[in-house]
Symmetry: C2
């Protein structure tokens, strides 16, 4: 817990440009750490960038473009020292889902639309930063995000099978995809399948065993860990060599083909205004999902080093990264989980590691793109599959199911929605259901009859504790804010409970869990008071919180209440039934 | 408060057919009361039924049809002894709004569609009754319903001005309507305007003064009150006489024209299946609004006689009434405010008064419809205007504004939405905003630092009460359920508050207002516990409610908490800082 940081007033400059903080103490030592991390992340990013561009329906080079300027922008404006920003699987899938129905894949319009999507997403994040709307991201609950990422991973993996098999595929839901694959299965292209399967095996071995094998070569654990990160690049180079050697590109193995060399031209993407409203919902969801993914990774890694990140400044950093992607031929980006973990493990000390990574990718774009001409698409597909399958988290589902059926239901809905309807529909269904279940819950609140715990001034549920009840006073604890969905329910429950206690003279509503009484509930309290009065019973309140009391004073309810508002339930009982109360206290 | 009824177990038959209860003790005396009320309500209903049918865009006779079988159905299945069911202004407006874009006004398809709408609405109410979904109606909050009814009243009144002026009009929002009237104002039809204005004046005088004048004729107050209810029928007969005498129908005064005599044929309305989805949203809103209006009238009147109505059985009663309307040439119906009050005041003793009223309307349909041939539409418009202007309630707005800006904002949104966008849009905007404001509120909950009230075991906010704080224990009261929208906010606030209390060793989260801890909040509690632990602070909980504790036990949180879960905040402080606590208790 970084208390000094939390209380130290930061200057305005440091607020806007967090880099001014860490640049002051920047040393050669830190540059060494950052440089090493950058080399490793660059080696990992090259295949991933190419692959995620393909996933987004874009030419592979767009992935490299999206890994240069956005990283520099985040270095300037971001607050996490280890977050690695760039193309990520889920956001690339959402990009493809948003653009595929509107533009022909691979067309110039499609590429421009991807840049516009990044621009919109960047603008939305900036506006959220300015209006401090970061809290909106909290509406994507844990179970929904977890279900969304698992299902997206599965969807992406299945979508890549066509490249491994070398056949045509497509479809926007799992059933369509599987059906398409099944229909074309007989046309499987042997050499492509061989390369794809071999890459899958190599990549999985690299991920699970390479570090162990390198350690046995008497390398230091640190060096072994870092070298093992080059596994995907080696796989990629191997595949290029095989394709070139056996002229497989001419024999039907789909390859990446010619990639332009040099930096992308800088330009602000423009498109017909009437198309913007069609992209806006997708841009909004991409912004929110990207922000949530990035902030959770950032916070997790920061916590491990007892640092903190500032969510509102993160909005600004990610917004600037997306705008940078938009003006340099890229597509929507965010902080990625796997590459940030690699960056962290490789010892990145400051956001400068991101700038160094951008330099690495720049060198790649300037000098090495001809190398990738013979890179088989099957290898990129294998890269994607291995990356996304690690996102599928069955354990999270089991834990959630055990803890709360409502949360598990939201998770299942999201998963089913993503797989069968679509990524955006899935996440909206999950959030909608979560909120709906919460509202349904608050509309029928738990209302407990409470009694005094012997020997104390504390009141608890009569069904759970051996408490003392007053024969004349009915103590009701309402376990919810009183607002319109539950106002009438309260009327009915109070009527029921007083009906089953025929001898009482007073009802005390214990309001310790009431954080709000809205206008509808105020009407209901009026009604309850009046009905009780007609039955010869007086209504009182207790433990009304300050803000609620302030509001009640703005109406005429307290004047007409007749009863009292007690500071505590104990005070209420001490006044209304002193005998029973004193006896219970002395027990 | 009818305690005996509430506790007496009702038989299954009585549950399904509430009439079996009151029919047992039915006497000549009660029949006399019900008969008198029925005569008065019938006299009031004849002009209203004709007028509301016109408002719904239907031939006037449909209003009479909708006032026969539906009343009988409610008599059998309803639970209120005084509610009067039939066409009402707001529901008629919603019917017209739903059907006008789809069918030509006055066409056969339009009439069938109105019947289908009633059928759908009846089916929805029945399903809600079976699934016990009556609580859904509670989501229409007081301010939203109040704003909706006021704005609808205004919209209806402005929409009727064209009939008073005898010009063409139209439009679905206030601006269009006023603009249309302004354009055609020069074509105002003199005789129509004269009749319309005279009727308006007569109807208003009848409403405000007739009872007083009749009392001065030495009639008993009861008789005077009942006779005064015949004002609208007398106005209507006067207008018919004037039109017939001066042949005004031939001189351009729009009249009702030929009305078929006799009962409507019974038939189940059918339409093309693809049109059903277009009617469904309107049917849903009509059901909810109708149910809310009906139940609030029913409950208000029942409370005056210390009776109760059963909302779920009311769903069944109103559903059967709408299905009855659908098969007998009617349109959607519900319990109306003004006519139910008249029924109540006239002394209706049982739902039999509704059956008698149906008899009265039947006689009208069988024998008196030729009488209405020369009835000017301007008189019907005046009837509507006088009826709906009483729905506009500025006082409710002022009270709500004083009490709660959030509620007032929901009300204003509904009013503006209804007037400028449309009735359905208005109500959805109001409900959406209400829920949005509530969710926003719960996403940034009030978190109070609490201390011990001297001389008691009770803990309150240190900013509002002179309380005793422990130097080592920070007591935080979280004033909201912990769920996904506020989970991260809690993390941040706890970090801030512990940051500003550097000497503390323990944090106790007082959970008296926490009614739920969902999976996202559980993750946050894990994080908070871990961060506090890293800073050398132990987290504890207190006053965790039974249902919340049950759920926490399903996770491993309590095993890893390290701290304790105390029954009360006092117990926590007595254990963690006995010295300060004992001293405060004895102060």
């Amino acid at each position: 817990m970084a208390k000094p940081e939390a209380t130290r007033p930061a200057s305005r400059l440091a607020n806007l440009l967090p880099c001014s903080n860490w640049l002051k103490g920047y040393s050669g030592n830190k540059a060494g750490q950052d440089g090493l991390a950058a080399v490793i992340v660059t080696l990992m990013l090259i295949p991933q960038s190419l692959a995620y561009a393909m996933l987004a329906g874009l030419p592979p080079v767009a992935g490299l473009y999206a890994s240069i300027l956005p990283l520099l922008a985040y270095t300037l404006f971001g607050t996490s020292s280890t977050l690695s920003v760039g193309p990520v699987a889920v956001i690339s899938l959402m990009t493809a889902t948003a653009l595929a129905p509107l533009f022909a894949a691979g067309s110039q319009e499609y590429m421009v639309a991807a840049m516009v999507l990044a621009l919109l997403s960047g603008a939305i994040l900036m506006v959220m930063a300015l209006l401090r709307l970061g809290f909106l991201a909290n509406f994507l609950s844990h179970p929904v995000v977890s279900g969304f990422i698992s299902a997206s991973g599965l969807l992406i993996a299945i979508g890549q099978l066509q490249h491994i098999l070398g056949i045509a595929g497509g479809g926007h839901n799992v059933l369509d995809m599987l059906w398409g694959l099944a229909q074309n299965l007989s046309r499987t292209h042997g050499p492509t399948l061989a390369i794809g399967t071999a890459s899958l095996i190599l990549l999985m071995l690299a991920r699970s065993h390479l570090k162990g094998w390198l350690s046995r070569l008497r390398l230091s654990p640190m060096l072994a860990a870092n070298l093992s990160k080059a596994g995907p690049v080696v796989t990629l180079l191997l595949a290029i060599a095989v394709v070139s050697l056996f002229d497989l590109a001419d024999r039907g193995v789909a390859v990446v083909g010619a990639i332009p060399r040099g930096f992308p031209p800088l330009s602000v993407p423009t498109m017909e205004l009437q198309l913007l409203p069609q992209l806006l919902p997708a841009a909004l969801l991409i912004s929110l999902v990207g922000f949530v993914e990035s902030v959770s990774v950032g916070q997790t890694l920061a916590a491990k080093r007892r640092q903190r990140i500032d969510p509102n400044q993160e909005l600004f950093g990610l917004g600037s990264a997306n705008i940078a992607a938009a003006v340099s031929g890229g597509f929507p980006v965010t902080g990625g989980f796997s590459r940030s973990v690699v960056n962290f493990d490789a010892g990145a000390a400051t956001p400068m590691a991101g700038a160094f990574t951008a330099l690495g990718i720049s060198l790649t774009v300037l000098f090495f793109t001809p190398l990738f001409h013979n890179l088989p698409q099957a290898v990129l597909a294998a890269t994607i599959i291995v990356a996304v399958l690690s996102l599928v988290d069955l354990g999270a589902f089991m834990r959630t199911w055990r803890y709360s059926r409502a949360d598990a239901l939201a998770m299942i809905t999201t998963v089913v929605g993503v797989l069968l309807v679509g990524v955006e529909a899935g996440i909206l269904m999950g959030v909608g259901l979560s909120l709906g279940l919460f509202l349904k819950r608050t509309s029928q609140p738990h209302i407990a009859v409470v009694g005094q715990l012997p020997g104390s001034q504390h009141f608890r549920n009569i069904n759970r504790y051996a408490v003392v009840e007053s024969p004349q006073v009915l103590s009701l604890r309402v376990d919810e804010s009183l607002y319109f969905p539950n106002a009438r329910y309260l009327e009915d429950r109070v009527a029921e409970l007083t009906g089953s206690h025929p001898d009482i003279k007073h009802v005390v509503l214990m309001c310790s869990a009431v954080n709000l009484i809205d206008a509808s509930a105020l009407e209901s309290l009026h009604t309850i008071k009046q009905r009780l009065h007609d039955a010869g019973i007086q209504l009182h309140l207790s433990e009304v919180k300050g803000p609620v009391m302030d509001q009640l004073r703005k109406s005429d309810f307290l004047e007409h209440l007749g009863g009292q508002v007690f500071v505590s339930q104990y005070d209420a009982l001490k006044t209304l039934d002193p005998g029973t109360t004193q006896a219970a206290l002395e027990k």
